[in-house]
Symmetry: C2
Subunit: 332 residues, 2 copies
């Protein structure tokens, strides 16, 4: 770690700078997660929304809009929209992954049941669509509804690619663009759109969000093999779930026949025994798969930084670049 851990992190500093906007987002989220008839909805939603998530995606929308000089109030609605979409996907992801923990607490599917997670997720999707229509901006609707479709497509692709050793780096990138980067890039892009900025600047905001999201997910996948208690990740979750993430794809591409047989047994057949994770880590290191994955994360982070060049200079731009640096610093 090259960061002084006691220093305020860039996304925390952004939350301070945008404190008024962010309180408005939180108030709107609480207001709209209510349900006149079904108290189960705010119960389940609150469990997740108030579990201390970083609010990274809505902060990106707020920061992008303010960076572009936006002075209206619609960015608050769009930031809440983005957080609702994110929360809905988390609820459904935990059902799909049969997860027991999220943000250090038992998941909603465990505390209530899968049914509640599916249906409350649907409610939050619908709430997101209600919210996004309110500014009456058709381009924003286009961007956010496309993002929702891309997210679901990425999740399905991930599902069908799991346990499939023929998954390529290209497919991995499509999964990552879907499950993670699509919402990051939509979050930043709509900030520029409601501020009425030029096509070039809106594209730059999209490119920043896209590259940031990809770097974020690659780092997340890397930490699954490289983590420590400090990162809050459990080493080997993806291995046990037989997910084809970038480190594994790279190691399999470089594998000899004996190694290929090992990967087929543990990933395709799911026959995992004591010591297999350790052997997998040895193979990942042997072929430099972790280092190569880290380099890709750094390359995407550099793209995100470069995209910011065309946007107005100032503290917000510096902080957005800082968020990007922080994402990759976790593996520096």
């Amino acid at each position: 770690m090259s960061l002084d851990e006691t220093r305020v992190k860039p996304h925390e500093r952004l939350a301070e700078v945008l404190a008024d906007d962010l309180s408005a987002v939180n108030a709107l989220i609480r207001e709209r997660m209510a349900s006149k008839h079904a108290p189960r909805i705010p119960e389940v939603t609150a469990h997740l929304v108030e579990a201390g998530g970083k609010r990274l995606r809505p902060i990106l929308t707020l920061a992008a809009a303010r960076l572009c000089g936006y002075e209206g109030a619609d960015h608050v609605k769009l930031a809440a929209t983005v957080e609702f979409i994110h929360t809905a996907t988390l609820l459904h992801d935990d059902v799909v992954d049969e997860s027991a923990k999220r943000r250090g607490r038992p998941t909603a599917n465990l505390l209530w049941d899968n049914k509640s997670s599916v249906l409350v997720g649907d409610y939050l999707f619908a709430r997101a669509f209600q919210l996004m229509t309110e500014p009456g901006n058709l381009r924003v609707l286009h961007i956010l509804s496309n993002a929702a479709a891309t997210i679901a497509e990425g999740e399905v692709l991930q599902l069908t690619a799991a346990q499939d050793l023929s998954t390529t780096e290209e497919i991995y990138l499509q999964v990552v663009r879907g499950k993670t980067a699509a919402l990051f890039s939509a979050a930043t892009e709509v900030g520029g759109v409601i501020a009425g900025r030029s096509a070039e600047e809106v594209q730059a905001l999209f490119d920043y969000g896209d590259a940031l999201g990809i770097a974020f997910q690659i780092v997340d996948d890397l930490l699954d093999y490289w983590g420590s208690d400090a990162t809050g990740k459990n080493i080997g979750d993806d291995f046990r779930e037989r997910k084809l993430t970038l480190p594994l794809i790279k190691a399999y591409a470089a594998a000899d026949d004996t190694e290929k047989a090992f990967w087929k047994r543990v990933i395709e057949k799911g026959d995992q025994q004591d010591g297999d994770l350790e052997h997998a880590l040895e193979l990942l290191n042997k072929h430099g798969a972790l280092e190569a994955t880290r380099q890709e994360a750094l390359a995407w982070a550099a793209k995100a930084k470069a995209a910011m060049e065309t946007l107005p200079k100032g503290e917000l731009r510096d902080l957005l670049i800082g968020v990007n640096d922080y994402v990759v610093e976790r593996v520096n």
Copy 2:
């Protein structure tokens, strides 16, 4: 049955009259259920979409628009939107109900898995939202996104009301308005909105769809205790799933202490034995709960018919009234 079973049913005749529009809807559904990256999506969707559903909801949108003199092409997009929302809710419902059969075929959650049903449902929701933005009509977006929220809210309410004998007729009506009537009323209302009709006529179309949807669901719940092979329903599914539908709510309200103890055992505790369904049917008949439920369905059907009074006379209006009559004829 008072209907000659060989006669063309009103919704089938509507499908004939609107054949060109309906082929355009089907073509659009096939086009938009595709996915460039994830072939699992069209596989799962086709299994349901091509299983011979009646396309009742999209037909309502087409008929409402044409009845109102609409001559554009956006009604096709909105009809496909409505069918996508319906299909998404079916996929999620089958996960929530752990169903094994739908439209006489194994459900998607059984043929693939719950994960695919959840994620493909999400994809279809997102596709629906993409489609509904295309006509660029903010009022339509408002109506359809509200309907989506009301549907999810109704489903959650149904989930929390299941096994709860304190469920009132008022709560039952809220569930039914959510899970069924909200999409019917949105389907007819948007037809009037895109045709630019008066507030009074748009309200009448909403009222028709609302009452038709409520009648439809009450009949469906009644047939669960009153069905035969001819209706394609299995008697007692709701009883076994311990759902609080109108017949049961009415019978419980009229129950003496011995009967209440019976209902508590079979519905609240879920302790069901041989002969319990037969005894439940006896109690439903003893208190006239089935007949009272049938009368409520007929009253809602009459409301649907009355709502049509203000709309332009002609074959389409007659056929829409005919659909309504057909819904209740199933229990006449």
